[in-house]
Amino acid sequence: MSTMTISSPVTNSLTAGKLPKHSPMMVLAASWIVVGALFAVIFLSGATETFNWAGTLFFGTVLYCIALFLFSYFVEGARRARDRLVTALVTIAFVVALIPLISLIGTTIVNGLPAFLTPTFFTESQRNVVGAGGGALHAIVGTLFVTGLATLISVPIGLLTAIYLTEYGRGRLARGITFFVDVMTGIPSIVAGLFAYALFSLLFNDPGIRFGFGGSVALSVLMIPVVVRSSEEMLKLVPNELREAAYALGVPKWLTIVKVVLPTSLAGIVTGVMISISRVIGETAPLLIVAGFTASMNYDLFSERMMTLPVFVYNQYASQGADSQAYIDRAWAGALTLIVIVMLLNLVARLVARTFSPKLGR
């Protein structure tokens, strides 16, 4: 008797009441086509001058969310429908977050490339240049000098602090340093610039003081906490067995650190330092305040104003001369140079990390 009921078509109970696997993709394509067709009709009727691509993508995606929710609601029920809706929204959020990155890099390349490719951009300064021509050599040299000195100041202090925190630090001082290093990562860059200015204008009693070294000090204030955090993380990864083996052989503690702990974590520390350089090399505000701007070359960190690449970009944009397009082109070219430097630093840092890091269990 009961076997009679089986004569209805056999369904797979595991997939019953579910949408087919690729249905979200199909719904997305369908909604884009529907909305696109709608906009095409509007375009062909002459109501708009061009086909509305942005509108198609935007309203198509909205329609997709609604349609997918409704389909799923009637086939799979309310809980699955909500799950599918959230999956769609989360994915859309990710794509939306990428749009500025793509737009920004795209525009910088398109706008910056013409001036970037002129031969004088890397060989000349802006001295006596009005309108088109000239280059950013003074700014590039200034950026390398200022950032280089900032690195020279920050790395020893940051690394020693990280060693203190991982190898020596116990108790209140260590906890205080950890807390305030974290707090220091949040100092606004302009405040660091104001600090360097306040310090040196008091020391030298010169209210109009501008020099490259001040910029290095300001950048160090921003860079030290980043170096401490990243080095500390790396030093913590060194297995304790290595330290204990060294102690067992009678090696003093400081030699253990110098000869065992540091070499083991060197790749990670180098990576952290390079990433921290890439963080501060683009800082504009502190250098605008304490290093100032100039159109000439300056190789002396300790006297006179010193141009840097970010300030060059800002200055070219903010004070455009008669032939304003030339200034804007140079600003974009400077921005492109900055992005190339930052991306290279990041890329090399990741390569160093991947190639030289000791292989841990993961």
Binding site: T161, G282, L338
Partner: protein, 314 residues
């Protein structure tokens, strides 16, 4: 007698190298605390003349320092608040996408992609904001004022250039997004896998698993991530200085060409030409900004540190 023997701790011989090295590390560590104290001290010393400056020392129509800094402080907080309003939901969604939705193999690469946004210098964001974003959003602003002008926030007249506080907030949101995302991602990944598997095994959908296991576990982390983002947005200078068309008043409207400036942008715009007590006034506004961000960051760090498992954003 045996107790006396037990008490003798075995101590390693202290060599000169040991002493020099450990002293150097302590000095370096203390130097950081000293620098932070010096920042506050020097800014304060240089700010004293501003607190007692006469009314004619200020640019514009102000009777004393506090009436000068109030609109700037308002602009700073208002723009940062708007930026967070946009950035936090998107950042949480992006972090969830990377930690729980994206295919495992792709997840790390996608994380790098978002981190790249954090590496872009702020002056480039400024150029982009004024050259690309502002002209792009201006027509939308015009429509918003036309249709929703009766809402006080969207009241006209609309800015013809798009250089309004809303544009600034969008740029700021893009800039703080990677910071908030990075921290949220770390925290979401730390959710105990057993909780997640248990809720999935009980028949929860993925979204129900996230609302029941991941989000409650990460709530403190999300709050502190948002506050760190707030600290960054409060202190951001160049993007605001380049994009905003400022006005020294308290203005709530989002879409007009009159906008409250922020402290940081005001300093960057006026510092190169400032002289005499004008420099001290700008330094004093910097001190106000420093205090605001310090408080925000300290609260965020206290919340993070309360959760020992979490190791840090960097």
């Amino acid at each position: 007698m045996t107790t006396a023997v037990d008490r003798i701790a075995i101590k390693a011989k202290e060599r000169p190298g040991d002493r020099i090295f450990s002293t150097a590390t302590v000095v370096a560590g203390s130097l950081i605390l000293a620098v932070l104290a010096a920042v506050a001290l020097f800014l304060f010393v240089q700010s004293i003349p501003a607190f007692v400056a006469p009314a004619d020392a200020f640019k514009g129509d102000f009777s004393n320092f506090w009436s000068y800094v109030a609109p700037l402080a308002f602009g700073t907080v208002w723009s940062a608040f708007l930026a967070l309003l946009m950035a936090v939901p998107v950042a949480i969604a992006v972090a969830l996408f990377i930690s729980h939705y994206a295919p495992r193999k792709l997840a790390q690469g996608l994380g790098y992609l978002i981190d790249l946004l954090a590496a872009v210098p702020s002056v480039v964001f400024g150029l982009w904001g004024i050259g690309v974003l502002a002209p792009m959003v201006q027509p939308f602003y015009a429509n918003l004022v036309e249709w929703f002008g009766w809402i006080p926030l969207f009241a006209g007249p609309v800015s013809g250039t798009g250089r309004t506080i809303l544009t600034v907030a969008i740029v700021l949101a893009v800039m703080v997004l990677p910071i908030i995302t990075a921290i949220c991602r770390e925290i979401f990944l730390q959710t105990p896998v057993l909780y997640e598997e248990a809720s999935l095994a009980l028949g929860a959908t993925r979204w129900e698993m996230i609302t029941m296991a991941v989000l409650p576990f990460g709530r403190a982390g999300i709050i502190s991530a948002a506050m760190l983002g707030l600290g960054r947005a409060l202190g951001e200078t160049m993007a605001v200085a380049m994009v905003l068309s400022p006005n020294p008043e308290v203005i709530f409207q989002l879409l007009t060409s009159q906008n409250s400036n922020t402290i940081a942008a005001n300093i960057a715009l006026n510092f190169p030409e400032a002289h005499g007590v004008g420099v001290n006034i700008l330094l004093a506004t910097g001190l106000v900004l420093f205090v605001i961000t310090l408080i925000v960051n300290m609260i965020a760090r206290v919340i993070i540190n309360r959760r020992k498992a979490f190791s840090g954003a960097n």
